[in-house]
Amino acid sequence: MTLPHREADVTLPKPARKDPHVDLEKLDAAADLMAINMGPQHPSTHGVMRIKLWLDGEMIVKAVPYCGYLHRGVEKLCERLTVVQLTPIVDKHDYVSPMTNEQALNIAFERMLGLEVPRRARYMRTIIAEIQRIASHLLWLGTFTLDIGGTIGGGASLMMYTFREREAILDVFEMLTGARFHYNTHTVGGQRHDVPVGWPAAVKKMIDAVDAHMPEYEQQCYGNDVLVLRTKGVGVIDRELALELGLSGPNLRASGVDLDLRRDEPFSAYDEIKVNVAVATDGDVYARFDVRMREMHESIRIVRELIDSIPEGPICSQKPVKVPFAVKLPAGRQFYTAIETPRGELGTYVIGGGAEKGAAPYRLKFRPPSLHAMSALPYALVGHTVPDVVAILGSLDPILGEVDR
């Protein structure tokens, strides 16, 4: 398939690193800076966050983001719940892809305790994660194009289309788990819900529908001058800065770093399949957009490859959990591990041996990819105008539930 893809007409010199803590007094005194405030209730901030911008004319000279408007203190809550009770809690972090949150947490406990996961459960996890990636990227695409208002036919039209496909995906998940949104289907050692009759066929039907509509989206985005002009060369994050900031996932790959934990630290069934990693080098909004679009194709391919070969067997290596104290973490053990979610490296740092006789973690720290993405804003916004703020913010795709926890 050939895409109506346009090469860069604009080439910008590589910008020097901006100082995010620049002292306002040191800036040009005659410039007469104006400060404006975006948020915390702003329609295009994907949740509740606030950015304070200082403008010289139309150009941003300093940006200070504030977060924490959704700080729900989950890490404190986790210290008094047991390992088995935690899965439904972490669903609510990255609420655009709840499945991968559960997966990250349970893989962390499994790796820490050295538990085996049956092959059937690993296949199911991989399929679920890839479908979730498509759903998450679809929602991102809808809101991103809504924010920059540049798709053919106005801003909201593409969002309506992507939500149509996302609904189909939620139906597939509802068939599997009975819930539309917060699933609670992963558990330590495997899965809670087995594949229902007819599920693979439903998944294939859904995947075919998404695949059939992908060229539509591509045509509406790549073939649209407004979108391309508003995104090329905007919000550049170079390779070194991206690494230093700890960006991950599509944001990091758009800056030219070929790192994907699905391939480099394989979890679930990713060690049995080949993952083609989408990388771009420009590091601008367009590159991040492009990487996500290509990732959707790759996810479609992986689901198609795996859905017919789900092996038979048990779905959980542990006995079905009756009491919440069934799994205990060794006291004093400290462990970090991470998986690749649609937003990047979602890590979990666990210290074992907490309350409830060791069934609760002593300390649980999540490494949210969105928080790192947001910390790029003071660097990426400087030098651009206010309308670019929503484009840059949308392209970084932070989810505030995960930023603030």
């Binding site: 400060a35 209730q41 949740g47 959704l70």
Partner: protein
């Protein structure tokens, strides 16, 4: 009783203009009925969308469920809107903003609490930074329980609100909807409730008014850590 529910004004603002116009007294009642009728069928929503429930609220507005079919429009500014939908957890840092945005909405206005977090704080209600229910801050007319409520449940809640408006239209007095069962009563009392003290209500109002633009100092010197507060958990 600190905050009086009866101080809420459900009369349409145009009503007063009409009343003061020469000869305006004629047909006033029917005009009011007309205005309330149109308000009922063209509710403009202000999404106070903070977390996961907001995504389901977007779904309700998007292609499959399509709230637009009953004449709702989602507007991102409080000054255009009739209904505030609180979708998601409200934290201590966000609460004064919610109060302020509610106060900025013109009368008549209604509040919907969507999801258990907005109703009672859900499983976060014990946590130091979470407000145990948004009805401790603003009056709420309709509760939509669920975590999150399905998009079609949102439509059910919308119908419930329209019923209440219709009852107002017919001149009936309507009782306040109670919180759904099992959603624990907060220590500080709900808005308009006898348990909410004067100090709480005025404190909330003050805090929402003092959200000055320059309120947050950009650079604060680091104080040495304070001695730990409270007992051991």
């Amino acid at each position: 009783m600190a905050v009086d529910e009866s101080e809420r004004n459900f009369e349409h603002p145009l009503y007063h203009y009409w009343e003061n116009m020469p000869g305006g007294g004629i047909g006033m009642t029917s005009l009011d009925r007309l205005l309330m009728h149109s308000a009922r069928h063209s509710l403009w929503f202000f999404p106070m969308a903070t977390s996961c429930c907001a995504i389901e609220f977007m779904t309700a507005a998007a292609s499959r469920v399509d709230m637009d079919q009953v004449g709702t429009i989602i507007r991102p500014t409080p000054r255009h809107c009739d209904v505030m939908v609180v979708a998601g957890t409200i934290t201590v840092k966000m609460a004064p903003r919610v109060k302020k945005l509610w106060d900025q909405m013109p009368e008549p206005k209604w509040g919907i609490a969507m999801g258990s977090c907005a109703i009672c704080g859900d499983f976060y209600r014990d946590i130091y930074s979470v407000v145990p229910g948004v009805d401790t801050i603003i009056p709420i007319d309709v509760y939509i329980p669920g975590c999150p409520p399905n998009a079609d449940q949102v439509m059910v809640g919308l119908q419930r609100l329209q019923e209440k408006i219709a009852a107002q239209l017919a001149g009936k007095t309507i009782d306040k909807d109670p919180r759904p069962p099992n959603m624990i009563y907060p220590a500080i009392g709900t808005h308009g409730d006898a348990r909410q003290t004067e100090a709480t209500a005025t404190g909330q109002l003050e805090a929402s008014r003092n959200l000055g633009y320059g309120g947050q100092e950009h650079r604060v010197p680091v104080a040495p850590p304070k001695p730990p507060a409270g007992d051991a958990t």
